[in-house]
């Protein structure tokens, strides 16, 4: 998913940088207001954890590998604005020190993994928890949100690559290739996101940045008797 320098046309780089800059401005304005003092160590920990987690490449299909992105978890625990800043820190350090993702393509990588990969899971989670208010709905919302976030991030990466002249395939082929593979990543990301959310709901619900309507009482947070 990390697009290196030279893979995208400069127009695509400029458009994606512009999109990311708009969200950076919003994020830097709003993240501080939404974060609680208790969440700042959590933000640092999750950012470091997903930087490390992206080192683990597990095999998927066709001899390819995948790794967790982390966007959905940071979105649901810290809120989307702080989540986007977390992902930006990871992507910037990866690009500057390790050459994992390019400098000209940083805007595209932030757009795919830091905007789409963060705001979509949050929006889906909000939508599902608005329909049904229960612990199970929270976890289902987290899973579906994470899955769709990863898949849509891949759709955007495919569109960016498909509209660049270096790749001779049409955008539709690039999107299809990226989406098939990233569906597997999405399933893994969904399971991990729901798992982390379940753990935090059980141990430290005060650390979560859930919307007001998704905040459950202690009784509602109890897992069903069958899985206790």
């Amino acid at each position: 998913m990390h697009i290196p320098d030279g893979f995208l046309d400069y127009t695509v780089c400029a458009i994606t940088y512009a999109g990311s800059i708009i969200f950076w401005i919003l994020a830097f304005r709003k993240a501080g207001k939404n974060l609680t003092d208790k969440q700042i160590p959590l933000m640092a920990t999750l950012t470091a954890m997903f930087f490390a987690a992206q080192m683990m490449n597990y095999p998927i299909i066709g001899g390819t590998t995948a790794h967790l992105l982390g966007g959905p978890i940071v979105a649901l625990t810290l809120g989307p604005y702080a989540g986007m800043i977390s992902m930006t820190i990871i992507l910037l350090i990866q690009a500057l020190f390790f050459g994992d993702g390019g400098i000209t393509t940083l805007g595209a990588n932030v757009w795919n993994m830091g905007v789409i990969g963060v705001f979509i899971p949050y929006a889906v989670f909000v939508f599902i928890t608005k329909i049904r208010r229960s612990r199970r709905a929270l976890l289902i919302g987290a899973f579906i949100g994470a899955f769709l976030g990863d898949v849509l991030a891949a759709v955007f990466a495919g569109l960016e690559l498909g509209s660049s002249s270096i790749f001779p395939y049409a955008a539709s082929i690039a999107v299809a290739t990226m989406v098939i593979h990233h569906s597997f990543i999405g399933i893994g990301e969904g399971i991990v996101t729901a798992g982390v959310l379940s753990f935090l709901l059980k141990t430290r619900p005060d650390l979560l940045s859930l919307p007001q309507f998704a905040q459950l009482s202690a009784k509602e947070l109890e897992p069903p008797a069958l899985i206790r």
Binding site: M1, H2, P4, D5, G6, F7, F28, A31, G32, K33, L35, D37, Q39, I40, P41, L42, M43, A44, T45, T47, A48, M49, F51, A52, A53, M55, M56, N57, G63, T64, T65, H67, A82, I85, S86, I89, I93, A95, L96, F97, F98, G99, D100, G102, I103, T104, A157, L161, I166, F167, P168, A174, T177, M178, H181, H182, K202, T203, R204, L207
Partner: protein, 101 residues
């Protein structure tokens, strides 16, 4: 022996321990990366044209390629750097928001 994770009330410490586990697993067992994009680019003969020479390309210090121990040390140091940067950024954002309020 049953381990009750709910006893780990300090998520920051747990997160740091987990990060180290991820680094070790990533460096020793799950280090081979062949993402879809890499594979398609390889198939098409497309190569990256970096505009910046990163000091630690592919997470390996030049001269220590293929050395998992060095890889673990490098990524652990950078994981702690990411932790520090995120902590500073988070604190600055909160301080800025408090001033504005």
């Amino acid at each position: 022996m049953r381990t009750d994770l709910s006893r780990h009330r300090n998520p920051m410490l747990l997160g740091i321990i987990l990060s180290f586990v991820f680094v070790v697993v990533g460096a020793v067992w799950l280090s081979q990366s062949q993402e879809t994009l890499d594979k398609v680019a390889e198939h098409l003969g497309v190569t990256a044209s970096p505009i910046w020479n990163p000091p630690i390309p592919d997470y390996e210090i030049p001269g220590f390629e293929g050395n998992p121990l060095m890889n673990i040390v490098t990524v652990t140091v950078f994981t702690l750097l990411v932790l520090a940067v995120a902590l500073i950024v988070g604190k600055s954002l909160k301080a800025k928001a408090k001033i504005q309020d």
